[in-house]
Structures are given as C-alpha cells and as structure tokens.
C-alpha cells in the first residue's frame, strides 16, 4: 500500500467510528434505556383512556352534583371544547349500546356545563412543556411546566359545595303534558318530535323512547341532535300508520299517533308531524 493512500483511509475509519457510536447511542436511548415517563397529567392520556377518565368525571358529577369540581377535573383533560367533547362521547356511547352506562352521565354533564355561567371560563390548559431530568437509572422525570397545582387547588380546597344540580327522580314516571299537530312545510313529512323534560323543566338527554306500530318497533334516544336541544328526539312516521310512544324508563302509553293531513297556503295537501312533550311531575 502506498503512502499517499494513508490520509484517505484515516478519514473513513473516523467516520465509521462515529457511525458506530451513533448507532450504539440510539440503541441505548431508544431500546435499552428509553426515556420512561412518570408523573404525567391526564391531558397526555391516550384518547381511549381520556374517554374513560371523562366518563368517570361525569359519573362522579351525577352523584355529587358538584359542577365546580367536575369542571376543574375536566379542564385537566385539555379538551378544546369540553361540552362538544362530552356530547360526542355520549352519542358514541349510545351508538355503541352504552356498554358502561356512561351516556346519561356524559350528556347530563354536557347539559349542565351549557347552562353554567362558568362554562366560558373552562379554558383548555396550555400544552405541556416537559423538562426532563435524566436519572442514573436511565429513567427520566417529566416535570410539566404549567398550572396543574392551581387546578388541583380548586379540586382539593375545602370550599362549600355548590347546590346540587337537579337530577331526574329515579322511578318517577313521565307524563305527557302536550300533544299537538305540526304543519310546517320546512319539516320532514310525518316527523314525530319528542321532547323530554325533568321536574325543573330542563331537557334530559339520553332518555330511551320506544316507538311501536303494528308490525315494528324502534328505539330512539334524546340528545343525539344537541343543536335542537338535549331533551329532543325525532322519528319519521309513515303515512296512514298508527304509532304508539312510551318512554323506556316509565311513562304513560301514548297511542293512536299518525301523521296529520296539512294544507299549504296554495291548497296542496301534505303529511304534517306531531310534537309530544313529556315531563316528570
């Protein structure tokens, strides 16, 4: 080997050594001793765990009626629009058959937040800005630089609890307080609109309504169209078919419902709808 080849070979073995070292470093950092996060906040949870956490917040709210505490807890999840997130999760739960009985709690809390004057102040918490301290064991402590302490102060401070939000009386049967035909060309023909309210005249989401007719039955739920109200549900009736309506949780049985005949201003006839209002006594 000639002497003029020596400098070039020197450069290559240095580069090779650098690459070997880099590979070893990444092997250690990513495989052998990756950063392990401890002390994380609810905002960093995986979406399905966030859903479970949110369900738990709503379930606790339903039994305690403490909206302030529920709001503090909800803010820890960092949802951009907590009301919409709760409503969507309630709808998803209903669509999935509500396996963990969380739909009512979620929708009820969304409804309470909508009516709460503090709802606007339920701002999402800022992004976590982690500062990582590497420990000798190869794990790292994630120290979020934001304000969980303030949020938790709200949770744990022994302030008097607010008045409980009225919740439907368990077992109290709903009664039909109004039934009226609706002639509106802007609505679907044969639209059966059902609205459910509690004793305080507040809409109740997640209520199951059983609609039956001669050869069929359909179950619908309130709150799936929150833009029309959390206590609202609807169903399209076929012309000349008699329907019966009852709430699954207990109500009077409303029978002989059928789409009424209506007329436009020009004299054309069409099928109108019916609006039912159920309330708890």
């Amino acid at each position: 080997m000639s002497a003029e080849h020596e400098p070039r070979r020197g450069s290559w073995y240095l580069l090779t050594g650098l690459l070997i070292g880099l590979a070893l470093g990444l092997l250690v950092a990513w495989v052998l001793a990756p950063v392990e996060y401890v002390d994380t906040a609810p905002a960093s949870l995986r979406p399905d765990f966030k859903d479970q956490y949110r369900s738990m917040i709503a379930s606790a709210y339903v039994v305690t009626g403490d909206l302030g505490r529920a709001q503090s807890r909800l803010s820890l999840l960092g949802d951009v629009d907590p009301v919409q997130t709760l409503t969507l999760q309630a709808q998803n739960a209903l669509a999935a058959g509500d396996p963990d009985d969380s739909a009512y709690a979620l929708a009820h809390m969304a409804d309470a937040l909508k009516q709460s004057p503090n709802e606007a102040s339920l701002s999402p918490i800022p992004e976590l800005i982690p500062s990582i301290t590497q420990s000798p064991a190869g794990s790292a402590n994630l120290t979020p630089t934001r304000r969980p302490a303030a949020a938790l102060t709200l949770i744990y401070s022994p302030t008097p609890r607010p008045t409980r939000t009225p919740t439907p009386t368990v077992g109290a049967a709903f009664v039909l307080v109004s039934q009226e035909p609706v002639c509106d060309v802007n609505l679907s023909e044969g639209l059966l609109q059902v609205e459910i309210q509690d004793a305080a005249r507040q809409p109740i989401p997640g209520v199951e309504i059983i609609i039956s007719w001669e050869d069929g039955e359909e179950h619908i739920f309130t709150g799936l169209k929150p833009e029309l109200g959390n206590g609202y549900a609807d169903f399209v009736m076929k012309p000349n078919v008699g329907y019966s309506v009852q709430l699954a949780s207990g109500s009077q049985f409303v029978t002989n419902l059928s789409a009424p005949f209506c007329q436009t201003d020009s004299g054309d006839s069409y099928f109108g709808g019916i609006r039912l209002l159920f309330q708890q006594p």
Binding site: L14, L18, G21, L26, V28, W30, V35, Y37, S44
Partner: protein
C-alpha cells in the same frame, strides 16, 4: 495519537450524539400515555371519583373494574395508596371518608364474586 485512540474517541462522540438525540432531541413520545403513569395527585383524584360513585351505588365490582386502569396491582392496594396520599395532601375530611369507605370495601372484595378484573 494512534489510530485506535482516535477511533474510540469518535465512537464515544457518536455515542454521546446518539444519546442526546434519543433522550433529548427526539425521545420516545409521551403522548398517548396510560393512566398507570399519572402523577400521584391525579391518580388519587381518579380514585376519589371512583369512591364518590361507589358511595352512591355501592357497586364494588364496578369500582374495582374502574380502578383496574390504574395498574395491575390489586384494587384495594391502589385505593389504599390513594388514601395515604390524600392524608398527606390534607384532603377534606369528607373525601377521606369516601376513600376509606372504598378501601375498606375493596379489602374484603373477592374477584371471584363476579368482579373479574379487566
């Protein structure tokens, strides 16, 4: 300096660069974490929520299932740890009572009674 010494020096430099990149610049993602990694105060607040619901429905099976997302330890131990934390953090007496009630119920609860853990 001999070639071998230079070789090991650049390996060490590469190793350091790899560690900095893997631990600091682009570490393992910490989004999508599990409740197991929650900080003690958040864990305790989650357990408190379970205790609040348990106080109302007295469903110990459901409470145990709900605590299951906090780790593979027995639910009674998870509740007891949260109770200890709550005492240290001076939770209100009403919250301590709820946690005590849940812990006591879980200590006598048997998964075989129908409450299979997730």
């Amino acid at each position: 300096m001999s070639r071998w010494i230079k070789f090991f020096i650049v390996i060490a430099l590469g190793l350091a660069a790899g560690l900095v990149y893997g631990w600091v610049i682009n570490p393992v993602e910490y989004t999508n974490t599990t409740p197991v990694t929650l900080r003690a105060d958040y864990r305790s607040d989650y357990v408190l929520m379970v205790a609040e619901v348990f106080h109302a429905d007295q469903n110990v099976d459901q409470a145990a299932r709900r605590l299951g997302i906090l780790g593979s330890e027995p639910p009674a131990k998870i509740a007891a740890q949260s109770l200890d934390y709550a005492r240290q953090a001076n939770f209100p007496a009403s919250d301590l009572a709820l946690l005590q009630s849940l812990t006591a119920a879980l200590q006598t609860w048997q998964p075989a009674s129908g409450g299979a853990l997730p």
